[in-house]
C-alpha cells in the first residue's frame, strides 16, 4: 500500500531549489492569478455565474487540501472525508435554524465538531491499516450520512435550506458574493500555508516518516499513533471549515453532500492534482470541476468522457497533473 507512494516524498526531500520557470511553478502561478482575477472578470462581463462556480472550486479545493494533508503526506487514505464537509455544513445549518446566525458561533462550532468527530474516527481507525483503514473511514462517514437522513427536524432526506448566511456583525457581509469569494480564496491560501508549515516542521517530518516506515519511526521513539491522530484531527477541522463555507455558498445542505461518491470526488481531486504536493489538490479540484462543468456544456453525456479521462490518468500518469508537469510518466 505505501511503497508506490514514496516517490513524492523522495522527490520532496531531494528537491533542489526549483527554477521559477519550472512548469509546475508556472501552472500554479497561473492558476492562482486566474483565481485572484475571477471576480474582476465576472464583474466586468456581468457573468456572475463564473464567480459562483469558482467559489465552489475554492471550497472543494479547501476540502481537497485537507484530505491531501492526511492522504498525501500521512498515507492515511480516508474514504469518508465528505463527512466533514457535511458536519461543518450541518453545524451552520442547524445553528441557523435554531436562530443562532452569528458566524462567530457557527464557524468555530463547525470546526470544533468536525475536529471532535475526526478525533473519534481517527482514534478507532488508526488501529487498522491499508484497505481496512479506507473501509473503516467509509463506515463512519456512512453512519453520519444516515444520522442526517434521520434528522427529521432538519429536513431529513430532503435537506435544509439556510435562509441567512452567517452573520459577522458588520465585519464582513457574506451576502456580498465578491467578498465571500475573496474570503474563500484567503482561507484556501491560508490552509495551503498551514499545510506547508506543518509538513516542513518536525511534526510533519514525523508524519511523513511514519508513512514511509511506521515501525522504524516507532523504534526511534516517535509515538506515531499520536502524531497521526493529531494530523487526522487537523485535517478534519480544516474540512469542517470547508463545510461551513459550502453551506454558506449554496444556502442549502442535504445528506447527499456526504454520499460516499462525494468522498470519492475528493479523493479523485487530490489524486488527479498530485498526491502529496502543496498545490496539487487545488489544481486537481479546479481541473475536475472545470472538466465536469465544461463537458456538461459540450455534451449531454459528460461522464462518458470524464470517466475514461480519470481512468487514463490513473493508468498513465504518475503523480497526477503535478507529476505530469514534472515530466514523471509511466508506460
Amino acid at each position: 500500500m505505501t511503497a508506490p507512494l514514496d516517490t513524492s516524498l523522495d522527490s520532496a526531500l531531494k528537491a533542489a531549489p526549483e527554477s521559477w520557470l519550472a512548469p509546475r511553478t508556472v501552472v500554479t502561478g497561473m492558476l492562482l492569478t486566474v483565481l485572484a482575477l475571477v471576480p474582476a472578470y465576472a464583474g466586468l462581463t456581468g457573468r456572475i455565474f463564473v464567480m459562483i462556480f469558482f467559489t465552489r472550486v475554492l471550497i472543494q479545493a479547501l476540502g481537497a487540501v485537507s484530505l491531501n494533508l492526511i492522504m498525501g503526506y500521512g498515507g492515511m487514505v480516508s474514504f469518508g472525508h465528505a463527512a466533514y464537509l457535511g458536519i461543518g455544513g450541518y453545524a451552520v445549518g442547524i445553528l441557523a435554524k435554531e436562530g443562532i446566525a452569528s458566524g462567530f458561533v457557527q464557524w468555530p462550532v463547525a470546526i470544533a465538531v468536525s475536529a471532535l468527530f475526526a478525533l473519534g474516527v481517527g482514534a478507532l481507525s488508526l488501529r487498522t491499516r491499508g484497505v481496512y483503514f479506507i473501509m473503516i473511514t467509509l463506515a463512519f462517514a456512512q453512519m453520519i450520512y444516515y444520522v442526517t437522513i434521520g434528522l427529521d427536524r432538519y429536513g431529513g432526506d430532503d435537506g435544509l435550506t439556510i435562509y441567512r448566511r452567517s452573520q459577522f456583525g458588520g465585519l464582513i457581509d457574506l451576502e456580498n458574493k465578491m467578498l465571500f469569494y475573496y474570503l474563500c480564496f484567503a482561507l484556501l491560501i491560508a490552509a495551503v500555508y498551514l499545510v506547508a508549515r506543518l509538513i516542513n516542521s518536525r511534526f510533519g517530518l514525523a508524519i511523513r516518516g511514519a508513512r514511509s516506515n511506521d515501525r522504524r519511526m516507532l523504534a526511534i521513539g516517535y509515538p506515531t499513533f499520536r502524531y497521526k491522530l493529531v494530523c487526522f484531527v487537523i485535517a478534519g477541522a480544516l474540512c469542517g471549515l470547508a463545510g461551513a463555507l459550502l453551506a454558506n455558498h449554496t444556502n442549502f445542505i442535504s445528506p447527499a453532500l456526504m454520499h460516499w461518491t462525494r468522498s470519492g470526488d475528493l479523493i479523485v481531486m487530490v489524486v488527479l492534482g498530485g498526491l502529496g504536493s502543496l498545490f496539487g489538490p487545488v489544481i486537481g479540484a479546479a481541473t475536475f470541476l472545470l472538466l465536469e462543468e465544461g463537458l456538461s456544456r459540450l455534451t449531454e453525456y459528460p461522464d462518458l468522457i470524464l470517466g475514461p479521462v480519470l481512468l487514463l490518468v490513473a493508468v498513465y500518469v504518475n503523480g497526477g497533473i503535478e507529476g505530469l508537469l514534472e515530466g514523471r510518466r509511466r508506460g
Binding site: 478507532l124 463506515a139 453512519m143 488527479l272 498526491l275 470517466g307 490513473a314
Partner: protein
C-alpha cells in the same frame, strides 16, 4: 413471531444477494489486490440486461440466463480493456480509475437505456405466495432468489474447492508470483476471475431487478454494503463473505423491521419513527467498525499474504 420468521427470510434473501456481489469483489480483491468501485456497475448492467433480454424473448428465465452470459462477457471485456492496466498499482490509483469507470457506466446506461428506470415483470406463477410453515405465507419469487443464489453459492464452492481452475484461483490468492512462475497463464486466469465476479454481480442484479426498479446508480449503495461484507468476512475469504453477507442481511432487515417498535418502548412515537430507520441503517456500519477495531483482519482472515 410469524412476522419475525418472514423478516428473517427477507434478511437471508438480502444476505444471499450481498454474497453474490461480495464473492466477486472478494475474489478480485484477494487475487488481483484490486479495489473495484465499478463492481456495482456490473450489478446495474446485469439488471438492465435482464430487463432488456426478458422483454425481447418474452421469458423471464431466458432473460436472466442471457443477462448472466452478457455480464460475464462484459466483465471479461472490461478486464482486458481497462482493469488489467491497474494491477500492481496502489489502491489510490484503483480508486481513481474505477471511480472513472463507475461514472462512465452510469452515463453509458443513460445513453443506451435512457434516464428513466425500467421494470422487469415477473411471470405470473412467481407472483404467488406459498405457505412455508402453517400460517406463514412467503412470496415464491423471494424463495426462488434464496434457492437460486444458494445453488450458485454451492456451485462456486465446488468450483473453487474441487476444480483445477479453483485450485489455481486459491493458489493465486495466496501467492501470485509463484503461480505465475509455475507456468500458469496468469493473465488469462485474472480475466476469468474478473469475468466470474462480473457474472455473479450481474446475476445478483438480474435477480434483484423484479423487486426493485432498475435504475441508474442502483449499484452504488449496494456496492458499499458488499464492501462492508468483505471487510467483515475478511478480504479474500469466500467463506467469510458468505457468513458476513448473511449477518449483514439479517441485521439490516431485522433492524429495519423491529428497531422502530423497540425504540418505541423507550421513546416517543415521533422520535422512534425518525431514529429507527437511521439507527438500523447505521447498525451494520457500527458492526463493521467494531469488528475492525477488535479483529482488524475480519472474521475469517484469508491465509496471511
Amino acid at each position: 413471531m410469524l412476522y419475525f420468521i418472514e423478516q428473517c427470510l427477507n434478511g437471508v434473501q438480502l444476505g444471499m444477494l450481498l454474497f453474490l456481489l461480495a464473492a466477486g469483489l472478494t475474489l478480485v480483491f484477494g487475487i488481483m489486490d484490486l479495489v473495484n468501485l465499478a463492481h456495482g456497475s456490473l450489478y446495474m448492467l446485469g439488471a438492465y440486461f435482464a430487463a432488456t433480454f426478458a422483454a425481447w424473448t418474452g421469458s423471464f428465465v431466458v432473460g436472466v440466463v442471457l443477462a448472466l452470459v452478457a455480464s460475464l462477457a462484459a466483465g471479461m471485456a472490461l478486464e482486458v480493456v481497462a482493469i488489467r492496466r491497474l494491477y500492481g498499482r496502489n489502491h489510490l490509483d484503483h480508486v481513481l480509475g474505477t471511480f472513472g469507470l463507475l461514472l462512465f457506466f452510469n452515463e453509458l446506461v443513460r445513453l443506451i437505456w435512457g434516464p428513466a428506470g425500467m421494470s422487469l415483470p415477473l411471470p405470473p406463477q412467481m407472483l404467488a405466495a406459498v405457505q412455508i410453515i402453517p400460517g406463514v405465507y412467503y412470496p415464491v419469487y423471494r424463495l426462488v432468489i434464496i434457492l437460486a443464489t444458494l445453488a450458485v453459492a454451492l456451485l462456486l464452492y465446488v468450483a473453487v474447492m474441487r476444480t483445477r481452475l479453483g485450485m489455481l484461483i486459491r493458489a493465486g490468492a495466496s501467492n501470485r508470483e509463484m503461480v505465475g512462475a509455475l507456468g500458469v497463464n496468469i493473465k488469462l486466469l485474472y480475466t476469468l476471475v474478473f469475468g466470474l465476479g462480473a457474472a455473479l454481480a450481474g446475476f445478483a442484479g438480474a435477480m434483484q431487478a423484479p423487486i426493485l426498479t432498475v435504475q441508474i446508480g442502483m449499484g452504488e449503495n449496494i456496492l458499499i454494503l458488499a464492501f462492508v461484507v468483505i471487510v467483515i468476512g475478511g478480504i479474500g475469504s469466500i467463506r467469510g463473505a458468505f457468513v458476513a453477507a448473511i449477518i449483514v442481511g439479517l441485521i439490516d432487515t431485522i433492524g429495519r423491521a423491529f428497531l422502530p417498535d423497540m425504540l418505541h418502548l423507550v421513546l416517543s412515537t415521533n422520535a422512534a419513527h425518525t431514529l429507527g430507520p437511521a439507527l438500523s441503517s447505521m447498525s451494520i456500519y457500527m458492526l463493521m467498525a467494531a469488528i475492525l477495531v477488535f479483529r482488524p483482519e475480519g472474521l475469517f482472515p484469508a491465509a496471511s499474504r
